[in-house]
């Protein structure tokens, strides 16, 4: 027998070893370890350790004034949450508020002033010094006497808003512009109803029985977070609040409402007048009282509101609105019915009409308010209640508030964008048409290069949220007045500039307020808090204890200041203003009863059945915020601005493919979109979400569907005739 190692033995050894190795943990361990080695890198961040502590502040990322509890590691905020029992926010925070501590590090954040250069359609931002930026703005203001100097204030009624108004009052051509509001009643309409300038109107929705909402997001972003969240929570049982949503768009509130009334676009006011018609003809309103309290309810002059309502019978409106006559009559009866035939007067709850302010014209809003008067909802618990405005923090002459729609076209030479989020989205064209033809200058004070700041010529960034001191006045639509302060948690970078410092510097350079200097912000807060303290009414919420006490138990304005600076809140008592049914003789048809033809035209605003219409859809501020993260997008909650939802029936006729590319064309331009089939969209309509294209966390895409929407003569942009083609 031959001895020695043969080649076969070697092969056997290798083969046996290979098989045997597979039965040991070695290859699996190596595979596992290799995976780990290739996955763990030094650049993976390690969370910072340190002492955990909590601070309280107020969110000012939109006008809702929510209380925020900030969890910090040492001095660094690491998370935000609502403050339990907070009287305004009810312990909640919205999606953007919960991520507010990330915003100081957002890729769109600006850390120093810039000049914007536009060449061949490209935007280039060039860093400049603080002095250069302030000098450029001052020079622009002083350069010519033609055209006005305007400030657009995203959140009016703040202390700094009064500083802006004082600064502008010192100029001969200053204009203080306020944006349209989504929630609440515009100042002009409030004046017509209550007859007093220092009052506002709030919606007491918690005590309402039925809300007839015309496009107002009453269940997902209206008034205050605490208010609408509570309504959603309490919608159970037989005595629950009922919501009837009149809206062409299948919005979130339409989805959550008890009844969705998908009227054809543009027929909302006609629908409201048809409801009024039923209330009057079926004697479901107190006609005697209305005759007493109004100049034109039934005056036989030929310009009576009765004559107007008579022109909108349920049968005629059914045809144009697409809602059956029976349904219109049923809704009108529903609004005045009470649960149980023997409901005592004390237990009776009124119904109210809410309307998405910014999307409707002034005349349409008058018609909705008329319906509230017919329903007896003004000055009633559960209806529209008057509330006081907060005291002014500053004395002297102030420029009046001018709604954006009232600013004359081609009149603004220098526009300063305050940078605060108004919560209302509107097309840039609304501002653009106000500029003088030659070289207007736009200055943004926003901490970010996003949203309307993308149109600015100079960027002078202010501190970001949590870096700056700010105050939060009463949210629009809230039933009671309130006041809170946002205390900075983080130090602001030295290279950014507080908006008040910008104004004070320009004021000094232009000598616009010589001898009448604008006080520092903290002084303005102090003045306001002292005035609130002197009123000796309302309640104070202390965020550190979670308790609410009467203001009368607070011993000094200094103590009140401290509580508010620590995330607390002052709020007025319910029905802080004594009110009769409504303060003055009400004019249903508008000023001096001359609005008959105008209201008739507003209610007749119907595009007909031919052609497609583009309906821009603005979800609440969190969903359409320029700075919202991509994390949020991936949840399918945020519809991107380049996605056109369309009914499959309409899409098939136009040979569009679900998920395919298409082009939306309007009189104002084109927008490239991705088609999404959605059975919730009204046939004949194209619904596109307002907001940027989502491309990642640093989403600053300029395309926004509002830019191709047409602004009507009545300053609305909710309906635009459009075409859509496969791309």
């Amino acid at each position: 027998m031959a001895k020695g190692i043969t080649r076969r033995d070697l092969l056997k050894l290798i083969g046996g070893s290979a098989v045997g190795l597979m039965l040991t943990p070695i290859p699996w361990k190596v595979l596992d370890e290799t995976a780990k080695w290739s996955q763990n890198w030094s650049w993976t961040p390690v969370p910072r350790n340190g002492k955990v502590n909590f601070k309280h502040t107020t969110c000012y990322l939109c006008p809702m004034s929510c209380g925020a509890r900030v969890r910090c590691v040492e001095d660094q905020p690491v998370s935000l949450m609502g403050i339990p029992n907070h009287p305004i926010s009810g312990g909640g925070l919205c999606a953007i508020g919960l991520g507010g501590h990330l915003l100081p590090y957002h890729p769109s954040r600006l850390l120093q002033p810039h000049r914007v250069a536009r060449e061949n359609g490209r935007i280039k931002i060039v860093p400049i010094s603080r002095e250069e930026s302030l000098s450029a703005v001052t020079e622009a203001i002083l350069s010519s006497k033609q055209g006005s100097i305007a400030i657009l204030d995203g959140q009016p009624k703040r202390a700094i808003s009064f500083a802006y108004r004082k600064f502008l009052a010192g100029l001969t051509n200053g204009v203080y512009i306020v944006p349209p509001i989504d929630a609440g009643v515009p100042a002009e309409l409030t004046l017509r109803v209550l007859g007093e300038r220092n009052l506002s109107i709030g919606f007491d929705m918690e005590n309402t029985r039925t809300i007839l909402s015309f496009g107002a997001p009453v269940l997902d972003g209206w008034g205050t977070l605490g208010q609408f969240s509570k309504i959603v929570r309490n919608r159970t049982g037989n005595n629950k609040l009922k919501v009837i949503q009149v809206e062409s768009i299948h919005s979130r509130t339409a989805q959550l409402a008890d009844q969705w009334v998908p009227v054809k676009p543009g027929t909302e006011a006609a629908f409201a007048l048809a409801i009024a018609n039923v209330l009057i003809n079926e004697k479901l309103c107190d006609a005697q009282k209305l005759r007493t309290h109004s100049t034109d309810f039934d005056n036989g002059s030929g310009h009576s509101f009765l004559d107007l309502a008579e022109k909108f019978s349920p049968a005629s409106v059914a045809e144009r609105s697409g809602i059956s006559e029976d349904k219109i009559v049923g809704i009108a009866r529903e609004l005045v019915s009470q649960p149980g035939a023997d409901a005592s007067p004390a237990r009776k709850k009124p119904s109210l009409v809410a309307f998405g302010g910014a999307t409707f014209s002034r005349d349409e809003q008058i018609i909705f308010m008329d319906l509230n008067i017919l329903l007896g909802a003004i000055g009633t618990k559960g209806g529209l209640i008057p509330r006081t405005e907060l005291p002014d923090p500053i004395g002297g002459r102030l420029t009046e508030e001018t709604p954006l729609t009232d600013v004359p076209d081609h009149s603004v030479r220098v526009l300063i964008l305050d940078g605060a989020e108004s919560g209302t989205l509107f097309p840039w064209q609304m501002l653009e048409q106000k500029f003088v033809p030659n070289s207007p200058v736009v200055v943004s004070l926003s901490p970010y290069f996003s949203g309307i700041a993308l149109h600015a010529d100079y960027l002078i960034p202010s501190p970001s949220y949590l870096e700056s001191c700010n105050d939060s006045p009463t949210p629009a639509g809230a039933p009671t007045a309130s006041y809170s302060i946002s205390t900075p948690i983080l130090p602001a970078p030295k290279t950014v500039v507080e908006p008040l410092d910008v104004i004070r510097r320009i004021s000094a350079a232009t000598h616009s307020n010589s001898g009448n200097e604008i006080q520092p912000l903290k002084e303005l807060f102090k003045n306001r808090i002292e005035k609130i303290f002197k009123q000796r009414r309302g309640f104070v919420f202390d965020a550190s204890t979670g308790e609410t006490v009467k203001l009368t138990t607070i011993y000094s304005s200094g103590q009140l200041m401290k509580i508010l600076s620590d995330g607390g809140c002052w709020y007025d008592k319910e029905f802080g203003v004594r009110s009769s049914e409504f303060g003055v003789l009400y004019s249903f048809l508008g000023r001096d009863n001359h609005g008959f033809e105008k209201l008739l035209a507003a209610a007749d605003h119907h595009l007909g059945d031919s052609g497609l219409v583009l309906l821009p859809y603005a979800a609440n501020v969190g969903q359409s915020h320029q700075l919202m993260t991509k994390v949020y997008r991936e949840s399918n909650l945020r519809e991107p601005g380049n996605e056109a939802s369309i009914n499959p029936e309409t899409a098939n006729k136009l040979e569009l493919i679900d998920g395919g590319s298409a082009v939306v064309k309007t009189g104002n331009g084109i927008s490239k979109v991705k088609v999404k089939f959605d059975r919730g969209i009204m046939p004949g309509a194209i619904q596109v979400a307002v907001g940027p294209i989502v491309t990642g966390y640093a989403e600053t895409g300029e395309q926004n569907i509002l830019e191709v929407c047409k602004i009507s003569n009545d300053s609305t942009w909710r309906i635009t005739k459009a075409e859509i083609f496969p791309a």
């Binding site: 949450m81 609502g82 959603v232 991936e634 949840s635 059975r679 009204m682």
Partner: protein, 267 residues
């Protein structure tokens, strides 16, 4: 708050001497407004990195994700709801546990929480395939944040590395913190108010209720037994511990995957 030794993302208790619990959740879809607060709160709490531009709906990470579903009827009869979907915390034949070759997934006997141990995960993604609820996500990219934002990371949770799977673990680190607090106070059991996942705490309409399903006196126990409460794909027999609630019949039928031909969902 949790101590730093408890900084993990595993959801696996190291000791089992706690009172046996079965943590679960009831989500009232009729109250969900689709605001997205739960999604953001979860991402912030669990240090989920912003996805890169290339991420898609499937490759981004959302341990809780809100879908919009409808009754399938044409306009104007269409009705829809928002449906938050997270790990369903299956109690029985937990599919992801069964298939994991690395023992990186385990059902914690003391709490019923299905945990994921990233450092054990090989990234084979069998569990993603096995999960009937599409509630698991793979880390396709290194976790990176815009410059400076890494300072905002929650110190109680480690960022997961590229190449591993992750999912909701009911914010297990919050349970550890509650247990530490109870221990310091000399109590054997935690105060239920001390252990609430971030999504539940953030929900402004209180559409989500969390608690111990074994506690007969708890609100969640009563809600889970409500006639209008149901679970997703109950016919699979996995006994999920996430319950949903709706007064709308079509929503309940949708959960059973038992819609008539006329009512096929869009979502």
């Amino acid at each position: 708050m949790a101590n730093y030794e408890s900084r993990n993302f595993s959801g696996i208790a190291e000791e089992t001497n706690y009172r046996k619990s079965r943590y679960g959740m009831v989500i009232d879809v009729d109250r969900c407004t689709g605001c997205g607060a739960c999604v953001v709160a979860c991402a912030v709490e669990n240090n989920v990195a912003p996805a890169p531009p290339a991420a898609t709906d499937r490759t981004g990470i959302t341990p809780i994700r809100v879908y919009k579903v409808d009754n399938g009827l044409p306009f104007p009869d269409i009705r829809s709801v928002f449906f938050p979907i997270t790990c369903q915390q299956c109690e029985h034949h937990t599919p992801c546990v069964s298939v994991c070759p690395q023992n990186a997934v385990a059902l914690d006997e003391s709490t019923g929480i299905v945990g994921q141990i990233p450092v054990r995960c090989l990234g084979c993604r069998y569990c993603i395939v096995a999960c009937p609820y599409h509630a698991r996500y793979f880390n396709w990219w290194d976790p990176t944040w815009p410059a400076g934002m890494e300072k905002t990371l929650n110190p109680d949770v480690s960022p997961r590395m590229r190449g591993v799977v992750e999912k909701c673990n009911f914010c297990f680190h919050r349970l550890q913190a509650a247990r530490s607090k109870a221990a310091i106070e000399g109590k054997k059991d935690i105060d239920p108010a001390d252990y609430v996942p971030a999504c539940v705490a953030a929900c402004p309409t209180q559409a989500m209720t969390f608690g111990d399903l074994l506690d007969e006196n708890s609100g969640i126990s009563r809600l889970a037994k409500n006639a209008n409460s149901f679970r997703l794909l109950e016919n699979l027999g996995t006994e999920p511990k996430i319950y949903y609630r709706s007064d709308q019949e079509w929503v309940k039928r949708l959960a059973e995957n038992d819609l008539t031909e006329k009512e096929k969902p869009n979502g």
